[in-house]
């Protein structure tokens, strides 16, 4: 495919980065550039499309085709690009406000249609660009500029929305884990269909430490589980904790205690069509005594919109008598006046 091998630096634009020092977006930019360098496309075949928000500034920092759209519309802008030209590798950059509040409708529909997009959701649980109002992923009770007494809204779990929209690919990662994120992004691109990657992103200014219960050095081994297809769901500092099914629910067990062996631990099947276990994994929370799931949680093959469309075009063309506009104008009832 590609006739050049790229270094991630080839994807850096000449524009000065304007994110706050320490903003999680900076590391994500690096991961995306690394993933693009590793993938097989020619540089001109990448299109990076965003809405509005701090995160949506992203395309300006990429030396690819890029489009910084309007608030909430990254999904439809990206859908139009991809449907028009299915050969492109299209990356949608969106925030928790952009993608789940004002753009929530487009988000569920692009997933439902299964358009082959890499949808990168920067979840900092806050509106960064507008200086710190709560977002649809802010925690219940969270105090922000626009919720001085704490929010009285339940947050979305993005992954749950993806499953609700009958999504086929969902992965979760953390901004500063560049190597893991790069790998996940590569897989997201390779997956044909709408691939949603939720990145827990730290906004140092308006929601610093939002994810620290999960990401801090002290607790991370016990509060994160990194799932790999075909491998047992094991986590913990000692690698001795695992997940099992207890009736219909997930349960944390310790290997070696109460007769639990490694063989009892669930093996991750990202490819299974039925979403129930994926949903349970997506919803695991530290507060409920579970680790938070990372990695590719769900990856199921399904036909994609833009390919179905091209196939339908070919099929209709093969049997239609209308080959050009002149044919069209003369189709149906016509008569001659001489």
């Amino acid at each position: 495919m590609a006739d050049t091998k790229y270094n991630f630096k080839d994807f850096k634009s000449d524009q000065e980065i304007r994110w706050c020092p320490g903003c999680g977006d900076i590391a994500i930019l690096m991961s995306v550039q690394k993933a693009m360098a590793a993938l097989d496309y020619d540089k001109e075949d990448y299109a990076v499309i965003s809405g509005i928000g701090c995160s949506s500034r992203f395309p300006y920092y990429m030396n690819t085709y890029g489009f910084h759209g309007i608030h909430g519309r990254a999904g439809v802008l990206a859908s139009g690009v991809k449907v028009a030209n299915p050969k492109l590798s299209v990356w949608q950059i969106t925030g928790d406000g952009d993608g789940l509040a004002i753009g929530g409708n487009h988000f569920i529909h692009e997933i439902r249609r299964n358009i082959d997009l890499n949808i990168i959701l920067f979840n900092n649980q806050i509106y960064g660009l507008t200086k710190g109002q709560y977002s649809p992923t802010s925690l219940f009770g969270q105090v922000t500029k626009s919720s001085p007494y704490g929010t009285i809204e339940q947050p979305f779990h993005p992954g749950e929305l993806v499953i609700g929209a009958r999504g086929k690919f969902f992965a979760r990662t953390i901004d500063n884990k560049v190597a893991d994120t790069t790998e996940i992004l590569i897989e997201a691109d390779k997956h044909k269909g709408a691939s949603v990657v939720e990145i827990l992103q730290n906004c140092v200014i308006y929601n610093n430490g939002a994810h620290s219960a999960i990401t801090s050095k002290e607790t991370r081994d016990d509060n994160q589980i990194w799932l790999k297809h075909g491998e047992p769901m094991i986590f913990g500092k000692e690698k001795n904790k695992g997940l099992v099914l207890d009736g219909l629910n997930l349960k944390v067990v310790t290997i070696g205690e109460n007769g639990v062996t490694k063989d009892d631990i669930l093996v991750h099947d990202a490819h299974q069509e039925l979403p129930y276990i994926h949903l349970a994994l997506i919803n695991m929370a530290v507060a409920d005594g579970f680790p938070v799931a990372f990695g590719i949680i769900r990856s199921v093959e399904a036909p994609t919109y833009e390919i179905l469309l091209e196939e339908q075009i070919k099929e209709v063309q093969s049997r239609s008598k209308i080959k050009n506009v002149d044919d069209l104008l003369h189709s149906g009832n016509t008569w001659n006046v001489d």
């Binding site: 634009s13 524009q15 020619d42 540089k43 001109e44 075949d45 990448y46 299109a47 499309i49 509005i52 395309p59 300006y60 990429m62 030396n63 690819t64 085709y65 890029g66 489009f67 910084h68 759209g69 309007i70 519309r73 439809v76 802008l77 990206a78 859908s79 139009g80 690009v81 991809k82 449907v83 028009a84 030209n85 050969k87 492109l88 409708n105 487009h106 529909h109 469309l309 339908q312 075009i313 209709v316 063309q317 239609s320 209308i322 080959k323 050009n324 506009v325 002149d326 069209l328 104008l329 003369h330 149906g332 009832n333 016509t334 008569w335 001659n336 006046v337 001489d338």
Partner: protein, 609 residues
């Protein structure tokens, strides 16, 4: 009794009944047959907003008006013949028929119960007999009788009664039955019993009219029309085809992002069918998705369009601004209807003009053009796409419910005669690409993903002249605002001049824009023929206005602006060309103008001069 023969140039017929009575089909059949035998035809379907409004009520009346004969430019003001399938249809239309008109009623449905549903009393009907030539026909029972030997169920039998009425009207106007016969054979190829039933009822209706010969017979003078191949076309189909024609001419793939809305849905529906031409139609989740997917497709190098009606245009306005600032080609079709809000969804109006011109945040100039007949929707859709592609700008095309649904015979153009379209792609061999470098028309070049070496970023933030990098420099924002504005103004160099029809040297100029053309030109022609001096200038290009607008307008003592709103175009002209005096004639009833009211207004002004 001897048959009375009336010789005329034009006849207006209205078929009216319940929305389930098949009046649209009946009217379409009559129009197609008339067009086929060489008449000019103009049609105006008029249907209720509710799909199944309560049967027998005035709110549920569906009508189809058509005008045929010689020099036909409008569907006619008032019917010469009204076919009323029930009392509600009669009540809804009686105020609008010509004095002494012929009214055909289905006596079977003129029962007390139906009078009550329609909310009118039987006594009123008696008066109608004095003023009009009423032909009573027991259409429902005759249809049942006609089909008594068939296997069809009672419901299907009753449903064929519109064909009985059509047969009668064919007889009165001496039309051949074979076009409709062929239509049934084709439409019901898989259900021959239905085709046969329709044919039988149609013939029996025709023969019934011969037998009772109590009705007048019209001889309508037909038109002397140009040689060529013709077809019937409505505005929505013509719009769709004009866009496809532009894509073919420009050698570009076509994309339409849209969301259904009356009366624009047929454009989406037509483009969805055109997979055979490789067109990509995308039914989005809302209007915002419709326009924004189209902007994405434009960024990716397609001729992209989006189609909607007023409320949908409101939703699209933010994204339209994005197309303005990114300077991407895009056609936005707005099929206007009565507003504000949901307003009168199935009725026509021209009240989105201000929304089209000014309905966006910021300095956001957009070319606005308007089609004026069902068939020239083809040309103006083509033209909208040509301007969009050649000037790298979104273009708003205005049509409305009247021309979108109205039909007329159309001499089919040949693609080889359509003008060339020069796209603004950057040359493959250029060494560098500066996204906002402008040419003498202030137009930037277009580079699309997949083109090697021209990777660049665009977006909704203000950008630096030439490079397109984000810029907050005050002077640059002003310069870019002026450049975007100037670019649209310069389009005036590439559009036709305003023409004057009628008595050019008159004192009074009738001005209109868009779909009022047919009524205005008919009124002015008829007045000229009767010796009244009046001229007519009609605008299809609204932003920018034709270059000679000031010159034309300044020649007249009085300018009367006719439009279906509260004077939006008149106010716009007053803003652009303030030295003239403008007289307003506004109508906001969800209805087209009538030739009669135009003449009355012009005469009133002439008397004051």
């Amino acid at each position: 009794m001897d048959k009375k023969i009336i010789e005329v140039d034009q006849v207006v017929i209205k078929f009216a009944g319940d929305s389930g009575d098949g009046m649209q089909l009946t009217g379409t059949q009559f129009s197609n047959t008339s067009a086929l035998i060489g008449d000019d035809v103009s049609t105006f379907p008029d249907y209720p907003a509710e799909i199944r409004a309560p049967q027998g009520t005035v709110g549920g009346v569906s009508g189809f008006q058509l005008n045929f004969g010689k020099k036909v430019n409008t569907p006619g003001d008032f019917p010469d013949v009204l076919v009323a399938m029930n009392p509600a249809a009669l009540k809804a239309n009686i105020g609008w028929v010509k004095d002494g008109a012929t009214i055909i009623i289905d006596t079977d449905s003129f029962t007390d119960k139906n009078f009550a549903k329609a909310g009118c009393d039987t006594e009123k009907l008696k008066e109608i007999y004095n003023d009009y030539n009423v032909i009573e026909a027991p259409i429902t029972s005759l249809t049942k009788e006609s089909l008594k030997d068939t296997e069809l169920d009672a419901k299907s039998k009753a449903r064929s009664k519109n064909m009985f009425a059509l047969g009668m009207v064919y007889c009165i106007f001496d039309r051949p039955l074979d076009h409709s016969v062929k239509f049934f054979e084709k439409k019901f190829a898989k259900k021959p019993e239905i085709a046969e039933a329709n044919k039988k009822v149609l013939k029996d209706g025709f023969n019934y009219a011969v037998t009772i010969h109590a009705m007048p017979s019209f001889r309508v003078h037909s038109s002397t029309i140009e040689k060529g191949v013709y077809r019937n076309i409505n505005g929505n189909t013509a719009t769709s085809w004009g866009l496809l024609a532009a894509a073919e001419k420009a050698n570009l793939p076509f994309f339409l992002g849209s969301y259904p809305i009356t009366p624009a849905s047929e454009i989406l529906v037509e483009i969805e069918k055109r997979r055979d031409l490789g067109a990509k139609a995308f039914q989005a989740e809302d209007e915002i998705g419709g326009i924004t997917t189209s902007i994405g497709a434009a960024f990716a190098g397609h001729l992209a369009a989006t189609s909607t009606s007023g409320p949908g245009l409101a939703l699209k306005s933010e994204a339209l601004g994005l197309a303005v600032i990114t300077e991407l080609p895009l056609v936005v079709v707005n099929v206007q209807r009565g507003g504000p809000s949901t307003g009168l969804p199935t009725k026509t109006e021209q009240s989105d003009l201000f929304q089209a011109l000014f309905g966006r945040n910021g300095e956001s100039p957009v070319p606005v053009i308007a089609a004026s007949t069902p068939s020239n929707c083809f040309n103006y859709a083509f033209e909208a796409a040509k301007i969009a592609l050649e000037h790298m700008t979104p273009v708003l095309l205005l049509t409305d419910g009247f021309i979108a649904n109205g039909t007329e015979p159309w001499k089919i153009p040949s693609m080889k005669d359509m003008p060339e379209i020069n796209t603004q792609f950057i040359g493959k061999d250029e060494k560098e690409y500066l996204p906002y470098l402008r040419d003498k028309n202030m137009v930037r070049k277009w580079a699309v993903p997949g083109m090697k070496g021209f990777e660049h970023r665009i977006g909704g933030l203000e950008k630096m002249e030439i490079t397109g990098n984000v810029s907050y420099i005050p002077e640059n924002h002003e310069a870019m605002s002026i450049e975007r504005d100037e670019k649209i103004k310069l389009i005036a160099n590439n559009i036709p001049e305003l023409k004057v029809e009628g008595n050019e040297d008159a004192d009074v100029l009738v001005v209109g824009w868009g779909s009022t053309y047919g009524h205005l030109t008919t009124a002015v022609r008829e007045m000229n023929e009767a010796g009244t001096k009046v001229a007519h200038a009609h605008f299809n290009y609204i932003n920018p206005l034709p270059k000679n607008t000031a010159e034309v307008l300044s020649k007249y003592k009085e300018i009367i602006v006719f439009e279906l709103n509260l004077g939006q175009f008149a106010k716009y002209l007053r803003m652009m060309h303030p030295t003239n005096h403008y007289e307003y004639y506004d109508k906001v009833q969800g209805l087209p103008l009538t030739v009669k009211e135009i003449k009355t207004k012009v005469n009133q002004i002439l008397e004051q001069l």
